[in-house]
């Protein structure tokens, strides 16, 4: 390891302190952006489990995100279910549907898997848009104010620490998970299915678990989104959102949790900053993506690692 453990820890501590004091130093607008980015981080980490760790090109992430949002919104507004319970229900439902999708499509590979899950995502968007009785259809749906153990979340500041805590817990749990047997099984399947089989990994089960887990993360991201957002419209649950999250994990560095986090932050910032240059933003964004792929093919994390190991070996 080129970077020492204490250095890593102190960097993490500094980042944590910065994150905790952020709302005290900035406007509600910045806190809103921070909340959105934290949601994207959870989405990116979830998609990274499926694509980056397990190598399965599932492109239905936004469908599970939508399931998380709608389930939370519907349960809290229509049935008075407490917010945390509703979020968990959303995660479970997303996970259950993710399980089914994984069970149906585990036989497929590469482009077939990518496109069948893509088709599922498009079909789910159609369901969100057309199932008026449940989702309020194309009118979009209002999300009631969340309340957590009697504490009412009324603005972005209130939501921030909840969102931040969930995101940090998600990151930590994922780190542990990826170091576990299951994490190793994921990577074995990604590297070579025959080899994984030879190592005694149940490839089929591992794939289905990856699908389910990834869907649960997306469902969680949806529930958390519902804590600070007051409205959801099916238009924002299209393929472009899945592609944005995919871009985040590729730009950050596939197969790396830190990469998913950095990708979400970098692209989130780029997108927000580009709003100030409206007439050129599509061209600039496109060029940025192309340049990233040309000059940092293994993502930001890959580029950083290469840099540190080079300077590290030079020092020795």
């Amino acid at each position: 390891m080129p970077i020492s453990m204490p250095a890593k820890l102190s960097a993490a501590a500094a980042a944590l302190i910065a994150l905790i004091v952020l709302p005290q130093l900035t406007s509600g607008y910045v806190v809103y952006l921070a909340n959105l980015m934290l949601v994207y981080i959870i989405l990116a980490i979830g998609l990274n489990i499926l694509i980056g760790e397990t190598g399965q090109f599932g492109l239905a992430h936004v469908a599970f995100y939508g399931i998380g949002i709608y389930t939370t919104a519907i349960l809290t507004s229509r049935y008075g279910v407490p917010f945390p319970v509703a979020v968990i229900a959303g995660m479970l439902l997303a996970g259950a549907i993710g399980f089914l999708l994984g069970a149906v499509s585990f036989r497929m590979r590469d482009i077939y898997l990518a496109l069948s899950t893509f088709a599922f995502g498009e079909a789910m968007q159609w369901v969100f848009k057309s199932w008026d009785a449940v989702t309020n259809g194309p009118n979009g749906m209002r999300i009631p104010q969340a309340s957590l153990f009697g504490f009412r979340i009324t603005n972005d500041h209130d939501a921030y620490y909840v969102v931040l805590a969930v995101a940090i817990v998600t990151v930590l749990v994922t780190i542990l998970l990826m170091q576990s047997r299951l994490g190793r099984a994921f990577r074995a399947v990604r590297e070579s299915e025959p080899a994984a089989l030879a190592l005694g990994v149940n490839v089929r089960r591992t794939k289905v678990i990856a699908f389910t887990l990834s869907a649960v993360y997306a469902g969680l991201a949806g529930g958390i989104f519902a804590s600070f957002s007051s409205f959801i419209h099916p238009d924002s649950l299209g393929f472009t959102t899945t592609i944005l999250v995919l871009t985040m994990i590729v730009v950050g560095g596939l197969g790396s949790i830190a990469g998913a986090v950095m990708g979400a932050l970098i692209l989130g910032l780029i997108q927000e900053l580009l709003r100030q240059a409206p007439s050129y933003q599509e061209i600039i964004y496109g060029v940025i993506l192309i340049l990233f792929m040309m000059y940092a093919p293994k993502g930001v994390i890959g580029a950083l690692k290469a840099r540190f190991s080079r300077s590290g070996s030079a020092a020795k």
């Binding site: 194309p138 409205f231 419209h233 924002s236 927000e272 709003r275 409206p278 599509e282």
Partner: protein, 412 residues
């Protein structure tokens, strides 16, 4: 120029008449300290936003230009109560998350006094909760915004162009009264727009004793054969289209191919460029019995619209030189900005957000641009609810008699 001032003047007079309630509350003369942000002794900050990039650019850019030139004109006349309007402009990308980000930036970072913006209804609705909670007067740019107007809130106002509810109702009204349609074919989008205009279309059809055969299509449709065959089988007397220009073109073309001869009424959402429509359909024969809805007070090239077009050409010579500019949606920015400036004028020398919102809730004025009065009421947050209709033969547009006012009212 004369018409412009007359428009501004009648606007003020009418606004004054309707908003006399404003005089009922006391005006503090104290200068220098204000209870709401965004206001100083000589400036007032307004957040102006629209989609300025991506696919919806065409719906937002020119209305925003129009609003901006109206504010410039007001500043040129000395501002409002001696205060110059200071604009902070943002791109909302026609997308819910981005619009909310833009609104939060304007309110919390730029500390604007009030908001004026949004061309996409679904995205504008996303800001509703935040705006009403923060109690900031918000006038939409050219979004119909039905989703945020009904049920009414105290701070959100819209439909400077026309509400979708009024758009659907008035086309059916025209089809049944002017074209004597009893069986009316109706093709709308399968999105929120479509749902809103269909609601009043059905209401108006029932009132007029007509029946509707409805086909709802996706705006990205590539082949309209299926819905058109079904419409032909229903054999309606009139066909109404409330789709965007692209699907509308495909439908008009298909109607011609399938030999359907009934009159077609194209709602304002699809009329962006009639010359291009004819070119795209490929033959003028398809326009033998063709009507278009409009929401301004004249044909786009008519004398009553001249002042807006002239003002645009003078203020934005470079934009005006671009093809198809100004766009037909450009004038809609004017009544939107007028709503803001009129409300600020009536709110007196020391405006508060609360006071401005209260005045907006009973504001009525003549814009000099739109088909009907711009008028808000106790349960009515939609500014413009009237349409005119033009017969279009592929070359000329002939104004049809009458202004059609929406009969649908919101019932809580």
């Amino acid at each position: 120029m004369k018409t412009m001032f007359r428009a501004a003047l009648t606007g003020l007079v009418l606004a004054g008449a309707a908003g006399f309630a404003a005089q009922a509350f006391p005006i503090k003369a104290g200068q220098g300290s204000y209870s709401d942000p965004g206001i100083t002794d000589d400036t007032i900050k307004i957040g102006l936003f629209a989609p300025l990039s991506g696919a919806a650019l065409a719906y937002g850019e020119d209305p925003l230009n129009a609003a901006r030139m109206w504010y410039d004109m007001i500043n040129g006349m000395g501002g409002i109560w001696g205060r110059k309007v200071e604009l902070v402009i943002e791109d909302d990308r026609c997308n819910a998350n981005d619009l909310v980000a833009a609104v939060k930036k304007l309110v919390e970072q730029d500390k604007v006094f009030m908001l004026n913006g949004g061309s996409c209804s679904a995205a504008a609705v996303a800001a509703q909760e935040y705006v009403t909670r923060a109690k900031i007067p918000y006038m939409m740019l050219n979004a119909s915004g039905d989703g945020a107007l009904y049920p009414p809130t105290d701070y959100i106002f819209g439909a400077a162009s026309i509400s979708q509810r009024a758009a659907g109702g008035t086309t059916v009204d025209f089809a049944s009264r002017h074209l004597k349609g009893k069986k009316i074919g109706y093709i709308n989008h399968d999105d929120a727009y479509g749902a809103w205009n269909l609601e009043t279309a059905q209401f108006t059809a029932k009132e007029s004793g007509a029946t509707l055969s409805v086909e709802s299509i996706n705006p990205n449709i590539t082949d309209v054969t299926a819905p058109m065959l079904k419409i032909r089988a229903a054999n309606p007397d009139v066909l109404i289209l409330t789709t965007y220009a692209r699907p509308a073109t495909l439908i008009v073309k298909k109607a011609h191919e399938l030999g359907m001869k009934m009159p077609i009424v194209l709602a304002v959402t699809g009329t962006a460029n009639l010359k291009q429509l004819v070119e795209n359909v490929g033959t003028k024969d398809a326009f033998k019995n063709f009507y278009v809805q409009d929401v301004i007070n004249d044909t786009p090239t008519g004398p009553k619209q001249k002042w807006v077009i002239d003002m645009y050409k003078k203020r934005y010579p470079e934009m005006a030189a671009k093809p198809d500019h100004p766009t037909p949606y450009m004038p809609y920015g004017i009544p939107s900005a007028q709503t803001v400036t009129n409300a600020l004028l009536l709110a007196g020398p020391n405006p508060t957000r609360e006071g401005v919102a209260r005045i907006m809730r009973s504001l009525t004025f003549e814009s000099g641009v739109m088909a009907g009065l711009i008028s808000y009421g106790e349960t009515d947050r939609a500014g413009q609810e009237s349409s005119i209709f033009l017969k279009f033969d592929g070359d000329k547009q002939d104004l049809q008699p009458g202004t059609y006012v929406s009969r649908w009212v919101y019932k809580p």
